[in-house]
Symmetry: C2
Subunit: 355 residues, 2 copies
Amino acid sequence: MKHNFGAGPCILPKEVFQEASQAVLDFNNTGLSILEISHRSKEFEEVVVETERLVRELLNVPQNYSVLFLQGGASQQFAMVPLNLLPEGGKAAYFDTGVWATKAAKEAKKIGQVEIVASSSDKNYNYIPKGFEIPADSAYFHYTSNNTIYGTEVFEKPTTSVPTVVDMSSDILSRVIDITDYDLIYAGAQKNMGPAGVTLVIIKDEILGRSGRSLPSILDYEPHIKAGSMYNTPPVYSIYVSMLNLRWLKAKGGISVIEQENIVKARTLYDEIERNPFFKGTAAVEDRSRMNVTFVMENSDLEAEFLALSKERNLIGIKGHRSVGGFRASIYNALSITSINALVDAMREFEEKHK
Amino acid sequence: MKHNFGAGPCILPKEVFQEASQAVLDFNNTGLSILEISHRSKEFEEVVVETERLVRELLNVPQNYSVLFLQGGASQQFAMVPLNLLPEGGKAAYFDTGVWATKAAKEAKKIGQVEIVASSSDKNYNYIPKGFEIPADSAYFHYTSNNTIYGTEVFEKPTTSVPTVVDMSSDILSRVIDITDYDLIYAGAQKNMGPAGVTLVIIKDEILGRSGRSLPSILDYEPHIKAGSMYNTPPVYSIYVSMLNLRWLKAKGGISVIEQENIVKARTLYDEIERNPFFKGTAAVEDRSRMNVTFVMENSDLEAEFLALSKERNLIGIKGHRSVGGFRASIYNALSITSINALVDAMREFEEKHK
């Protein structure tokens, strides 16, 4: 058994892979592959409707929010958000917690004025700044809720009266949130929602129509809302597999149940990192992510050897991002405690061998 | 056996479905699903490289053209083309051969000046206008090579000295073309290339960098070119299945071989439409598409009955688009002559019953 700690695209449940594989041969006993059905067929329309219903149910999305399945990932949202929400001459507030937050701000700067309201770049983004001011005249405030590279997560939404936009690509569906705290949420699917190729967007309808810009239809949220995510041919298979994964999450008991599992998984791994004298965490303790656990070795010369041992133990994808070094264990919803224990066992085995 | 005449997403070869299904369980004996591997893994980088190599080989793409795999379909290209190629104050020439060509022009009009150089809207787009002028001061000339709804196809590229941009979504890879006749080709994959969720773009590099516009990175071809289609997380599975389908096409003997099959398939069906007194074609004979065969009944009251018979005979997706009515048989690369014969048999059976 391989333990997939990859940062994304990443592990999904085995049951999802099995059903997703079968549907490529025969989708719902139609005699057709899910890859060859029309996106306008009744069968696929039901998939889109069910996927939206599951998102609404699992995240408790109120009726005055729209739920969209788009293409282009978070990177496309970096442009769509300011195009739709930032009027000419207006200003947007961005919170700089890492590379992805920086990219979002950089793209917004091409479209209008951007103010960076806080940054943790002084310490290579190993913490989440707190207690900063967000100008009340900002068109919106943008942040990234989980920073995969640095292993930090924003558990408490910064206080502000302006519309709040969040890139939740890597922690959506992993913990209970109150949608009404936010005005626009976007998330590339390829962590906890599904495979690469689809992007979830949840928008409070009333914040739209304010930028006054003439937009290409594909970049304007409104045509997508009017068409129920079918303005153009949607990424059929990515939506279908997302539906299977959301069904799995619902059958497990929903987000409050997976959140408890995620807490236990993260604690188990962080506890070992703290206990084991060979390892140390890189993120500020109070901001440690439950999705991406970043750690290095006290003696970095030993890192190659631990990486080799991990490979032998079938622990996949734990090499850290080059900007942090060391290791990163991504422990998304579908990764079981068994895999966490396998990693902990490898860390202990390494300790035994070297002490 | 179902005969899938759907207009797209559409039939792909059975062998492709089988391998695509297996890879969802175990990709290339990695012990991981294709849906959970990192897009930065060596294994997936090889997929992207091979997919590009196959496109270059099959279409004989010269080295001074870039090959990209993007998201957002042709609809996103409707915006990206003018944003990248149309300078402020410049003008683009569009050829109006149907709804998709109209949409492309409409999106371009949001970005700059557009001149419609010819249109067949006078006859519900049932022919391809010829012999029109394309102003030499146009930044580019845009057309749609195959019009799925009306069953018309542009076999001869209109003569012009300005850069030529073609939406080949529904006939790319179906017939031999000379890439050097074109400056930018785009195609949503979901006809002859692969499943929905990926868009092929082939660009002559020298036409880029001319619009002088500051673009969001995701809408700018250059970052995608520099990153080898990995500027952001690509639609992993859609690219992978496209690779399988391109391998299938290569193993068959390439485009010149499939073109001959497509000619025979189209002729067989058009011959029956002409012979059978109950049916008649809707497109001008010289412009009839080899990909989408549109036809109606002499007595339209009988159409519901023929549709019912088709369903009994497992002929899927032959109902015509509402703007033309009647029937549309989409006969893409992967549809075999066996399926064409099944449709012809149903037409003859219907004739026998009613004569």
